[in-house]
Symmetry: C2
Subunit: 207 residues, 2 copies
């Protein structure tokens, strides 16, 4: 409805984003392997030729739809994270942006999961996904290391704690889908409390 | 290959289990909605008529394939959990059986995830999935409550801690799929360490 009524006014960059968002939604609601370029053009209310003006082919759309979601996440995180922020604030900013972008991230997570189990392999997509998780681990490890070094955090195992936080985020999105209980925001808020407990409460007794 | 060579020797109960295992594998490797009864018969090397002798229809196969995985998990847990076991041993038994059945559970998790996002609704399947997660939460809460009451565990929030452990298990299976790093067993072993830390280390300072 919005897509249709706004159709004429869209600038190319806006249309491109709209296509990526609709594509991600479609890839996530069905198995991405059965979605065609034509299906995506249809939900965007544009003709297939125009879609090919923006994107090379379906593989390109899959990569860019995922890339767009990751970019939103990273950009939102960078906005929240002021230069020289406290390590705890950095970790909480990462959780916070996951709450704000929860609907998009749920689609992203579904697409990654389907791709992983599909048996299909796309080297560019593999690099994108590995880069995303690598970046998360690095970001969490960096903040944890600085917090531990400054004495603000208890002396936790940096790499293991970073992975545990990342796994919990994955679990929250996954559980919301599998359990169908739509508790993403509440669960991430609880994870923020948990992280404070793990890092801060211990620093009281450990310092 | 195994299915083919063992074909003649199978008892009905064995064949039924074999069909369920092949069906789960197929449902998880594609989107379950595109898998047909004929596809399943084909991988089991039996004719469709025989398959209908065991199962009503595809919906029945989906439910029973999932139900079979859940039963294996619960039975394996009950075996590990001696009557009157320590609360910590009970929680670790739950983690342990997830390690042992990791390959099957990864398929189960994928099917539940696809079902959840498919938009299809099956009341029986919903009951099965809700029952599974409800049982996990109850089992963890029970062990945590007894451990806290006896003073063996730190006085953690029972419900939140149980959900956190459940979410971490979900995250581990999900991450293994999305990240493609196949660290399920190592991650569950780390979760066991983490649970000990959360419950036991605190009881030292809290007791």
């Amino acid at each position: 409805m919005t897509a249709r009524s706004a159709r004429k006014r869209l600038q190319p960059a806006e249309r491109r984003v709209l296509i990526l968002e609709e594509a991600l939604r479609l890839f996530a609601s069905r198995h991405f392997s059965v979605v065609t370029v034509r299906d995506i053009a249809l939900v965007c209310d544009i003709n297939v030729g125009l879609l090919y003006h923006y994107f090379e082919n379906k593989d390109d759309l899959v990569r860019r739809a995922l890339g767009h979601a990751i970019e939103q996440l990273v950009a939102g995180y960078e906005e929240r994270r002021a230069a020289g922020a406290e390590p705890l604030a950095e970790i909480l900013a990462w959780l916070d942006i996951h709450m704000e972008l929860a609907p998009t991230l749920a689609l992203m997570v579904k697409l990654m999961s389907d791709y992983a189990s599909s048996g299909l392999r796309d080297a560019e997509l593999d690099v994108l996904i590995a880069g995303f998780y690598g970046r998360e681990q690095q970001l969490l490890e960096g903040a944890l290391a600085r917090g531990v070094a400054s004495g603000a955090f208890a002396p936790v195992d940096i790499a293991r704690t970073a992975r545990r936080i990342g796994l919990m985020l994955d679990g929250i999105f996954h559980a919301s889908a599998s359990r169908g209980d739509d508790r993403i925001v509440a669960d991430i808020a609880d994870l923020a409390d948990f992280v404070r407990e793990l890092l801060a409460v211990r620093s009281v007794s450990g310092g």
